[in-house]
Symmetry: C3
Subunit: 150 residues, 3 copies
């Protein structure tokens, strides 16, 4: 936004977007980095913060390596050993393990934006984590820009 | 804030608030969504980001389902199996399990604000997680508003 | 930033900084609170939000107690029991356990800024968590300031 009088670019600004993810298995990690990059490019934000939020209680978002697809496979396998599907849970729907994994990995991630791109390490990808699929899920992304301090 | 010359609403703004939570058990999950909604309503912020922070090392904050109270019960039960209270820990206070669970679930959550309300999925509630109670605990909330991009 | 016409302090502003951490063991927690405080002091930001991000997939950031160094030791020990180094993982590099621990603790933390200092509880420190060291690692910090609501 530009001040009509002094012509300074004023204030921060932000935009909220969402997209859907179709999962195909009970437990699955799907790389959503490129889909977030598309939203970022459309926003024209050059510098700021990107928050990714999953509005579900049996799914999560995490950052990890995708160069070797064995890494997300190992994460899903080991989480399955740590939190077994059946373990005298009380919740009658039979998906308590999915709820627990969702809280362990978390519903949100925060990534920085610089030069119009996500600031990620060489091996980092952003994954949507399905723990009670297959389903159609939603991911909400908020991109915020602030003036840079000199 | 409004520019005195061009009358544009300028910049972002934010407010920090806190409240206390009284816990009644060694491990307990308490739904604090409504208490955060009250702070949000008082702030009159219509769009932005809500950060929730727990300033303790044996407690945490998580987002999960509260429609069925068995879900938080299952989360607490399973976390108790994953991280047993006694396991040849070195920390002499006897609450190492609580410290470990705090790091696994995390000290903060980020939720979006739109139309003056929290953007949560149908089944999502925000829980304060006590792992070393009963105690009186604090929750700090920061509500930030930015101009919306057109 | 000050409007040249009405002289109001306008908008939010932010700064991104990074530093390196040298780790000395396969698994290690290093207190980085003071290093973040130095960046905050240099920024002269009085009120806002501090995001800490680790751009690695076999390391993490967490908040916990450092008053007793046995606490981080117990966290590392117990995480090692929950996620064993060897467990028929498929990833050939032999560091799958480190990837899994990284996702369990997470790549980012959010801390509030007030009166020019981090808003941390009495016992809270911010730790860089190495799970596949020893290595030289990076930590990226983003400090954002917004106008305070009255």
């Amino acid at each position: 936004m530009t001040c009509g009088t002094c012509q300074l670019e004023i204030g921060g600004n932000e935009i909220m977007k969402q997209f859907t993810v179709r999962t195909n298995a009970r437990a699955e990690m799907i790389d959503i980095t490129d889909r977030i990059r598309i939203l970022l490019k459309e926003s024209r934000i050059r510098s700021g913060i990107c928050h990714v939020f999953v509005p579900h209680t049996t799914a999560a978002v995490t950052i990890n390596e995708n160069a070797d697809p064995d890494v997300p496979q190992d994460i899903l396998m080991e989480l399955g050993e740590i939190v077994p599907y059946n373990n005298h849970y009380r919740h009658a729907e039979g998906n308590s393990a999915a709820h627990i994994k969702a809280s362990i990995l978390g519903a949100s991630e925060t990534v920085f934006i610089e030069n119009g791109d996500l600031v990620l390490g060489t091996w980092q990808s952003i994954f949507f984590c399905e723990f009670d699929g297959p389903r159609t899920r939603r991911v909400i992304v908020r991109l915020a820009a602030l003036d840079s301090l000199k």
